[in-house]
């Protein structure tokens, strides 16, 4: 509203032009975003210089290129947001840019590792640096971000495609079953000659659209028709249908694709959205019970998941003598060592030995690499940055005026948060390791591109939410006043 004078307003040009009598529109806060964005580009450059100085004792040669590249990406994103989503949240873009930039630095740093190069050679591969690829994927991600911000005029359009998005998401989720698995999990679609994509990352966004559209229509039935039992509102049997269906779907993913992460992600997202839509605590209780039950059964039956669970329970068994047959990789143990040797303040950029985690050090295990080189302090800062992104998403959901936007923003930020939890928890040994990647940080095209798209949708919703409402129609004034007849 208009407690403007006390605020350090960023949108100076907006406020000074209006006279004091009229109400002042909310500031767009684009300049705040620009300042933070500059900060978010300088920070990775500093880290980059840091790596170069620590490894070779000189400024890295490619620094200008990476710095300019990141700055260019952020700048393009900012200009598009300034033009097409003027009132969007000022924090989302800088936070994502910072994470993307820090990810690029760590990936570049691991590219310099001689140990990884030797390992690849020993296994018969040619070692390829991942950083140029990652920069290209970031550019593609920003391109998708720009496209979504420009062409998605109103997020409510997505509501029309509720059931189409369900079908598309199902196809994306099921497709990897027909392709060969990599590293034990079948989460890839391989396109010969082009590479492989991880459809689960995109399915996450599309499923959120379906859940939001579905729950918006059905939430009254789910919320009101219930019996009270022991302080909980029990839903009717037929209303349990959707949650059972999604639960079954996530179990199917778990069994056929052996991917614990996606399974947790989709089910968790659905339970969160169900809870937000209906305000019934019983859904959370049901969800937790069902996921615990399902995970326990599948974890003890399905062999690949069983191995993951064993590796989680006994991370150091790989060093036992004789080595158990299921303990094939020392990645988890090395990740835990990495966190340990990082300590509170870390070893410093370029001075850790996180390349001992081998080839996944820059993708699934990148968080352990940060834990070693930046220590607890840095890892906490990164988790806080993720937390801030989720917070801004939830804030957007609170501010959104339409129920679909509220549910969609909640679902997307919940998916983002759950993904961070699943990956970080897996790397730290809190839960069994899964085949997912840290959003924005980890090397991996699908993840970076999909998460930029997710961010673009959040930005669009927050723009709609903060945009000042159009002037109300003067309908009541137009009607004639009825005259009292004595």
């Amino acid at each position: 509203m208009s407690a403007m004078p006390s605020m350090p307003s960023s949108a100076g040009s907006n406020t000074t032009a209006t006279t004091t009598i009229s109400t002042v529109g909310p500031p767009s806060r684009r300049n705040t975003e620009l300042a933070l964005l500059a900060f978010a580009v300088i920070l990775p450059c500093f880290a980059y210089a840091n790596v170069g100085l620590a490894l070779n004792g000189e400024m890295p040669s490619g620094m200008l290129g990476y710095g300019l590249g990141l700055g260019l990406l952020g700048g393009v994103g900012h200009l598009v947001v300034r033009k097409f989503a003027k009132y969007a949240d000022p924090l989302l873009l800088p936070l994502a840019t910072l994470l993307n930039g820090l990810g690029l630095v760590m990936i570049w740093r691991l590219d310099q590792s001689e140990r990884l190069a030797r390992l690849a050679k020993a296994q018969g591969f040619t070692f390829q640096p991942s950083a140029p690829n990652q920069l290209m994927f970031s550019a593609l991600g920003i391109a998708l971000f720009v496209a979504v911000v420009i062409f998605l005029k109103d997020h409510r359009i997505l509501q029309r495609y509720t059931y189409i998005s369900m079908v598309v998401a199902l196809v994306l989720l099921v497709a990897p079953v027909f392709f060969p698995g990599k590293f034990g999990a079948k989460i890839w679609i391989v396109i010969p000659g082009l590479g492989s994509i991880q459809p689960g990352e995109f399915a996450k966004i599309i499923l959120a659209i379906f859940f939001a559209g579905y729950l918006m229509v059905k939430r009254d039935a789910l919320a009101l028709a219930s019996r009270r039992f022991m302080g909980l509102y029990l839903p009717r049997g037929r209303d349990l249908g959707p949650i059972v269906a999604v639960w079954a779907l996530s179990l199917v993913i778990l069994v056929f694709e052996t991917d614990l992460g996606s399974s947790l992600l989709f089910f968790g997202m659905f339970v969160v959205m169900l809870y937000v839509a209906t305000e019934r605590t019983s859904w959370i209780v049901f969800g937790l019970l069902m996921s615990a039950g399902g995970a326990a059964v599948v974890g003890s039956v399905e062999p690949h998941v069983k191995v993951r669970v064993m590796a989680w329970l006994h991370p150091f068994a790989v060093y036992d003598n004789p080595r158990p047959s299921w303990a094939t990789t020392e990645q988890i143990a090395q990740a835990l060592f990495a966190f340990g040797s990082g300590g509170v303040f870390g070893t410093g950029w370029g001075q850790g030995a996180s390349d001992l985690i081998q080839f996944a050090a820059n993708s699934d295990f990148i968080f352990a690499s940060y834990g070693e080189e930046l220590g607890l302090a840095g890892a906490m800062a990164i988790l806080l940055i993720y937390g801030l992104i989720v917070e801004r998403g939830v804030r957007t959901a609170l501010a959104a005026r339409d129920p679909f936007g509220k549910l969609l923003a909640t679902g997307l930020s919940a998916a983002f948060g759950i993904q961070v939890f699943v990956v970080a928890g897996g790397v730290m040994g809190l839960i069994p390791l899964t085949g997912m990647t840290m959003p924005f940080l980890a090397a991996g095209g699908s993840s970076v591109i999909a998460n930029w798209a997710l961010l673009a949708i959040l930005i669009k919703i927050s723009d709609t939410a903060r945009r000042p409402a159009p002037a109300p129609a003067p309908s009541p004034d137009a009607e004639m006043t009825q005259v009292v007849r004595p």
Binding site: A3, F39, L98, P476, D477
Partner: protein, 180 residues
């Protein structure tokens, strides 16, 4: 590169990283999204924001209006004179239960959208009446040439009239009174 330089850079990077997080949190705190900021801004924006706020109040559930109105009234009561009304209460009509804190501003009543209290009442004119304090702080009600008239108790108003505490002001089907 010397050990010292590297240590300084290592800790420096962490410091800058945390600085970024802190700056980001500061941005959120001062974000105009929050309603707390608006309430803290005491008299400064009060007069201007009045119309907007009351319009917003016309729609949401009654409890919230009474809460916010009441809280503002409490604060006001410390400052105001003894015996002076602190709030305006709609006691009958479709807006029954709405309260507006009296803070020395003019309150316009009518069906027009920019009124302080937007009356959803077929018998009200778009600019029906206004209530304002005179120089002594006495609250005055004035009919603005409405079709069906404004009644204080039983008498139809012809001139601006001081409002006794608790006297019903009737506009169409809506009844308003001033309370302490």
């Amino acid at each position: 590169m010397s050990e010292l330089t590297l240590t300084v850079m290592r800790l420096g990077f962490l410091a800058v990283l945390w600085l970024f997080v802190i700056v980001a949190v500061q941005v959120i705190r001062s974000d105009l999204f929050g309603t707390r900021v608006t309430q803290r801004g005491s008299r400064r924006g009060g007069g201007e924001s009045r119309p907007q706020r009351a319009q917003a109040q016309a729609a949401p559930p009654q409890q919230r209006q009474q809460q916010t109105g009441g809280r503002r009234a409490d604060r006001r009561a410390d400052r105001g004179r003894r015996g002076a009304p602190t709030k305006l209460v709609v006691s009958e009509g479709s807006l029954a239960g709405t309260t507006v804190a009296l803070q020395g501003q003019t309150i316009s009543l009518g069906r027009a959208h920019d009124s302080t209290i937007v009356l959803d009442d077929d018998y009200a004119s778009s600019r029906h009446a206004r209530i304002y304090p005179d120089r002594d702080g006495q609250w005055i009600v004035e009919d603005l040439g409405s079709t069906n008239g404004t009644y204080l108790d039983r008498t139809r108003l012809t001139t601006p009239t001081p409002i006794p505490l608790g006297a019903p002001i009737r506009i169409g089907k809506t009844v308003i009174e001033l309370r302490k």
